[in-house]
């Protein structure tokens, strides 16, 4: 039960932090249509985050709300993987971060929707359709940028070089995930890998990009050991709730 709470919180934090990063683009996108798309994806992740937080609050059963969980925990209590807290950088970095996460997210939700936990399955079933669209969108942009201009290729390669090192954490189970995998509540990431890798290979081939090999993988976020970026993100995210505790907005 406690482990499930922790895992759902990890999913919630992940969706929230990614939504937050994407929402930073709002009004600053490279094309109005993509500004809309980014906001749209941010909204999907925000909605998913809220579902998870509500479920986590229910699992915990101590009267905390979705807002308590999102706004009143410190950086070292946050459980998102390092990838999603990385700054937006240029559009290429945002796309690469999104593509890496979408690839995992879509395949994860496919498993979760068939899993034994009915609430998680229900959230996953709703979100997997959105995730399929996200993956299509970010895959198409990887292809456009990789097989676009010299500059776009240089930028997407640079983004891959700086962000790929955070991919491994997604499919490396931490203690909580291992325990829940043993109980069949969390999918076996190893079994998901072939499909994920096949998708990456397909997209990168069309993008004429080499798939990164032998990258040293960073980890720690899922256990609360973050990069320094998260702290700054939380100062903004939490400012109002921290400043005016206990009020209704």
């Amino acid at each position: 039960q406690t482990q499930l709470f922790r895992y759902v919180l990890q999913l919630a934090d992940t969706s929230l932090i990614l939504a937050h990063r994407l929402s930073e683009w709002c009004g600053h996108g490279p094309i109005l249509e993509q500004d809309l798309a980014l906001a749209n994806i941010a909204l999907d992740f925000l909605g998913e985050a809220r579902s998870y937080y509500q479920y986590a609050a229910e699992l915990e059963g101590q009267g905390r709300t979705e807002d308590d969980l999102a706004y009143l925990r410190s950086a070292v209590e946050y459980r998102n993987p390092l990838l999603v807290e990385q700054p937006n950088g240029d559009f290429a970095a945002t796309i690469v971060r999104q593509f890496i996460y979408d690839t995992f997210h879509y395949h994860l939700l496919q498993q979760l929707q068939a899993g034994p936990d009915t609430q998680l399955a229900a959230i996953a079933e709703k979100s997997v359709k959105e995730a399929a669209y996200h993956l299509k969108w970010s895959s198409e942009w990887i292809i456009r940028l990789g097989d676009g201009t010299e500059e776009s290729r240089r930028r997407v390669e640079q983004a891959i070089a700086s962000l790929w090192r955070y991919a491994g954490e997604l499919t490396t189970p931490n203690a909580t995930e291992k325990e829940l995998q043993a109980a069949g509540l969390v999918p076996d990431y190893a079994a998901m890998l072939p499909q994920m890798e096949a998708h990456v290979a397909r997209v990168f081939e069309e993008a004429t990009l080499p798939v990164p090999q032998g990258v040293f993988m960073q980890k720690g976020g899922k256990d609360g050991r973050h990069t320094e970026h998260l702290g700054y993100l939380l100062t903004e995210l939490q400012y109002m709730q921290r400043t005016y505790p206990g009020l209704t907005w």
Binding site: H28, P30, I31, L32, L46, A49, T248, W249
Partner: protein
């Protein structure tokens, strides 16, 4: 035999007077086309720039629900921008040219967005007052003479009135909340009241194009008429919220069945129009920066599309 033939211009005006919509392929006077392009693109730019003051609070919204509503709202504004650019394109304007005119300062956008958003209550005021004023300006445009513009406005107005209710609800929550929240609401109202009155434009006496625009039915009320409507609508709402409108001259006038109110600071109005508002440089700067930093993305998308087309033709 002398027939009673109408000139093109007369036929055009006759259609307008009969409330028959003008469509893109219909003949229209050059001045009508130009006025519309200017008005619609200015409106589109306002949606685009209008994303910034509210966008400023997305990352700091005080609850997940509010964050979600605010983000969706700003996204809607991007959507409005798209409809409106499309409507202007039916008149022969290109989006690239319209954006270039925005970025060079040649085209204008609503001055209200040159005021900063300094507290969460500003999200309430922008929705309640700014969107409220926008709706008063825009609802008549749903019946405007140019078809694509009128249809775009129907959609815009529907969403705007939804936004306006959300803004009011933010204010209401603050006013029913803790004292610090109510103070926040009042402080924001103090800053936004006068600038929103300016949204209806100069006094009728200083607005020389109004007559022609009303004749063409691309404007249906004068600036002062709309401003009066706005005050009449908002003063009771402020009272309902328990807030004080920052104008000691506001007083019910039974004779005119409306409120008297004080005079806008027209010097401030013209200063902001001329580019000297607090945020003019920041707003335009943010748009130019986004556009310039996005250039390589747009080029990449075009280059890739061309490659695809090339490959398809080779098959």
């Amino acid at each position: 035999m002398e027939t009673l033939e109408l000139t093109q211009e007369e036929q055009f005006q006759a259609r307008i007077d009969a409330d028959i919509r003008i469509e893109p392929k219909d003949w229209m006077p050059d001045a009508y086309r130009k006025t519309l392009i200017r008005q619609i693109s200015q409106h589109a730019h306002s949606e685009l720039v209008g994303m910034l003051p509210e966008g400023n609070w997305i990352t700091r919204a005080p609850s997940l629900k509010r964050k979600s509503i605010l983000l969706a709202k700003v996204q809607d504004e991007a959507g409005h921008g798209l409809y409106l650019y499309s409507a202007a394109e039916t008149l022969g304007a290109s989006r690239d040219q319209m954006l270039a005119d925005l970025h060079s300062g040649k085209a204008k956008y609503s001055s209200i967005f040159n005021y900063p958003t300094l507290s969460w209550a500003d999200m309430g005021c922008v929705g309640w007052l700014v969107d409220g004023a926008a709706i008063l300006n825009q609802v008549p445009l749903c019946r405007t003479s140019y078809g694509p513009y009128a249809r775009a406005m129907v959609r815009v107005c529907k969403e705007e009135s939804f936004h306006q209710r959300q803004g009011f609800e933010i204010m209401q929550t603050l006013c029913e909340g803790a004292p610090v929240q109510k103070e926040m609401a009042q402080e924001a109202l103090n800053r936004w009241w006068w600038p929103t009155l300016m949204m209806f434009g100069p006094k009728d006496a200083d607005s020389p194009n109004t007559a022609q625009s009303m004749n063409w039915r691309i404007k249906r009320f004068t600036n002062d008429e709309l401003r009066q409507k706005f005050v009449d609508m908002m003063v009771p709402q402020a009272e309902f919220l328990g807030l004080t409108v920052p104008d000691p001259a506001v007083k019910w006038n039974a004779d005119k069945n409306g409120y008297d109110f004080g005079d806008v600071d027209w010097e401030e109005f013209w200063n902001v129009v001329k580019g000297n508002g607090l945020c003019n440089q920041e707003r335009l700067g943010a748009r130019v920066k986004a556009h310039e930093e996005g250039a390589w993305v747009r080029e990449a998308a075009l280059a890739h599309a061309a490659k695809r087309k090339q490959r398809a033709s080779e098959v």
